[in-house]
């Protein structure tokens, strides 16, 4: 069982809030000056100065140690997608399709290939690079059939004793009526349960958004890695803010309260290791990000090799068994 997290850096949060207020002020001024500058060139230098100031403030904000920065980076449109990690980490990938029951879910990919010279079964939700692709992949939000496909290939991994590699980047399980009708909850519960006792190693890498039960349904593992700027949360900060303050715009505060960063999750012993990202985030140098993950995977794959399967499954149980924080009255 973990101990209580250290206090949030409320001073930093306050400074960030102040910077934000300044930024908002500058942006308001820009809004005032831009039409004039565009109209007759007047005050063009004022506008330039304001824009420089805004950029400065944004940069300063990004340097602050606050949770929202991770949220922004985890959701950054240029952030490498799970499918890019998959392509970089898995050689000779063959995608397998379908749950053998109802439908092939394009929001989640599953298949077989080689990782660091070992045969592995891989799972990854797909997000799109543009609107069209995003719609095709349902914004990386799986239906029950996506989770059932994932479980099917995990069972294949178990049959052959191959490790499962799950690359996690999903905002949530799809909240739709058809998903509910086909047992979204059942599918997630089933996956979670089967993953706690799957008789083969499971490695999880949270690369972007780890969105609640929809993420956990592919994120129970012997080793859970998390990229430095990825997030993992029981509820999106917007939803949390809406519930707490009936104001979804206070998501920054909620993000801080939820303790959803890699550092927090490691302190809570939910994540086993933080994978550092290139300065400015994984999208600044994707290849380096891939290489760092690859190095970590190599290390863990080798370590897991040495553990007899009965021990591995017992350890996995014990690991999740310990999670939580409560007090016992005498």
């Amino acid at each position: 069982m973990v101990t209580v997290l250290p206090e949030r850096d409320r001073e930093a949060e306050a400074r960030a809030a102040a910077l934000e207020r300044q930024l908002a002020e500058v942006q308001r001024e820009i809004a005032v000056h831009r039409p004039r500058a565009e109209k007759d060139g007047a005050e063009a230098d004022v506008l330039r100065a304001l824009e420089a100031r805004a950029a400065e403030l944004r940069e300063a904000l990004m340097q602050m140690p606050i949770a929202w920065n991770a949220v922004a980076l985890a959701r950054h449109p240029q952030r490498p997608k799970a499918q890019e990690f998959l392509a970089a980490l898995i050689d000779d990938f063959t995608e397998l399709h379908g749950d053998r029951l109802f439908r092939d879910d394009p929001a989640i990919a599953a298949g077989v290939g080689w990782c660091e010279g070992r045969p592995v079964v891989a799972i990854a939700p797909y997000k799109g690079k543009d609107t069209r692709e995003n719609i095709a992949h349902n914004f990386g939000m799986p239906y029950p059939e996506g989770y059932r496909k994932a479980l099917r290939v995990m069972k294949l991994a178990e049959k052959f004793g191959y490790p499962v590699l799950s690359i996690v980047d999903t905002p949530a399980a799809f909240p739709g009526d058809a998903a509910e009708e086909r047992g979204q909850a059942e599918a997630i519960a089933r996956n979670i349960q089967e993953m706690t006792r799957l008789r083969t190693p499971i490695l999880v890498v949270i690369t972007g958004e780890g969105g609640s039960g929809g993420a956990l349904a592919i994120a129970v593992g012997d080793v859970v890695l998390m990229l430095e700027n990825a997030i993992y949360t029981v509820i999106p900060p917007e939803g949390c803010a809406a519930i707490l303050w009936r104001d979804a715009t206070r998501a920054r505060e909620a993000a801080a309260a939820l303790r959803l960063t890699a550092a927090d999750l490691a302190a809570l012993e939910i994540v086993d290791e933080i994978v550092p990202e290139p300065r400015g985030g994984a999208h600044m140098d994707p290849d380096r990000a891939f290489a760092t993950v690859r190095d970590a995977l190599r290390r863990h794959l080798t370590a897991l090799d040495a553990i007899p399967i009965d021990d591995l499954v017992r350890r996995r149980y014990d690991k999740y068994r310990r999670m939580g924080y409560y007090e016992e009255r005498p």
Partner: protein
């Protein structure tokens, strides 16, 4: 709060006479029913069959045989691992309101003489939300069931995972599901009963992992909330969406059982699945013209108020 089975402190269950002249208005049909009559009818509206929600204590009282409940793990209470603003206050308030230290009560008892491990979530306590204490209690009672070689019955009533414990509450899905897996591996029966409402993280873990899944009529059962879904699909959902009957039709649960038949149904299933029979005793509370006498089930532990 309803008072026919209110217990003054957690760890014991008590039934009291209702002051005459108290009335409850049915939220479904609008009928005014004397609270006493409603209680005698297990809080099912005699006019329209609407199932009023029960607290965890009430649930155990109408399900278990008299004097059979032995509470376990009553001493677990929530901390504030995230230092989440306002959480300690919310916990205190919920405790005040419900009389419980958290949103689950677990222990052992008998149903028509069939001995079983049992758990019930308490919706009045922060919407029955699952934080570390609820997760730990469900996990422990599952492990205790394995040790004691007994079946497990869990009544769910929950809005989902407890936000204020962040990812730790999310991990309770894995912890409880793993413990239920051990129960299955030990070939012990697990009966899950979904009461109104059972949603979010609780559905996505132990509630949907029963050998048999029962639900009360009209209970709301689903993963995502109606409002979120309506926003996503930009359509109004039908009234019966995510109702127990809807889930039955969609093959997600085994049966919808009206409350007056639930105890007998559970007993029948426990007998079928080989629960040991220790004694045939009357239930704590039954439908019908029962005398509202003062009876109590005393817990084995944790009867000290906090």
């Amino acid at each position: 709060m309803l008072n026919w089975l209110r217990r003054p402190k957690y760890g014991s269950i008590e039934r009291r006479d209702t002051p005459a002249g108290l009335w409850t208005k049915c939220p479904k049909c609008g009928a005014l029913i004397t609270t006493k009559e409603l209680e005698r009818n297990l809080k099912v509206c005699p006019k329209c069959g609407f199932h009023h929600r029960l607290t965890a204590e009430e649930r155990l009282a109408v399900t278990l045989d008299e004097n059979s409940f032995e509470e376990t793990d009553a001493h677990l209470i929530s901390g504030d691992p995230l230092r989440f603003e306002g959480y300690p206050e919310k916990l205190a308030e919920a405790h005040e309101k419900s009389g419980n230290p958290d949103a689950a009560i677990v222990g052992f008892g008998t149903i028509e003489g069939y001995r079983t491990a049992i758990g019930a979530l308490d919706f009045p306590f922060m919407g029955g939300s699952m934080g570390s204490v609820v997760g730990e209690k469900i996990t422990r009672i599952a492990e205790r069931a394995v040790e004691a070689h007994l079946p497990l019955v869990v009544f769910s009533a929950s809005g989902g995972a407890r936000m204020q414990e962040g990812a730790l509450s999310l991990m309770q899905l894995a912890k409880t599901s793993a413990a239920i897996a051990r129960l299955h591996d030990a070939r012990l029966p697990y009966l899950s009963v979904m009461c109104d409402p059972t949603t979010g993280g609780v559905t996505a873990s132990f509630a949907f992992l029963g050998d048999v899944i029962l639900a009360e009529p009209g209970a709301l059962i689903g993963f995502a909330g109606r409002r979120v879904i309506e926003q996503t699909i930009r359509r109004k959902l039908p009234d019966n969406f995510q109702a127990a009957e809807f889930c039955l039709e969609h093959g997600l649960i085994d049966m919808v059982v009206p409350r007056p038949e639930l105890r007998a149904t559970l007993a029948r299933l426990l007998r079928f699945f080989g629960a040991p029979r220790v004694a045939a005793t009357p239930p704590i509370a039954t439908a019908g013209p029962a005398e509202a006498t003062s009876t109590a089930v005393t817990a084995t532990a944790g009867s000290e108020d906090v």
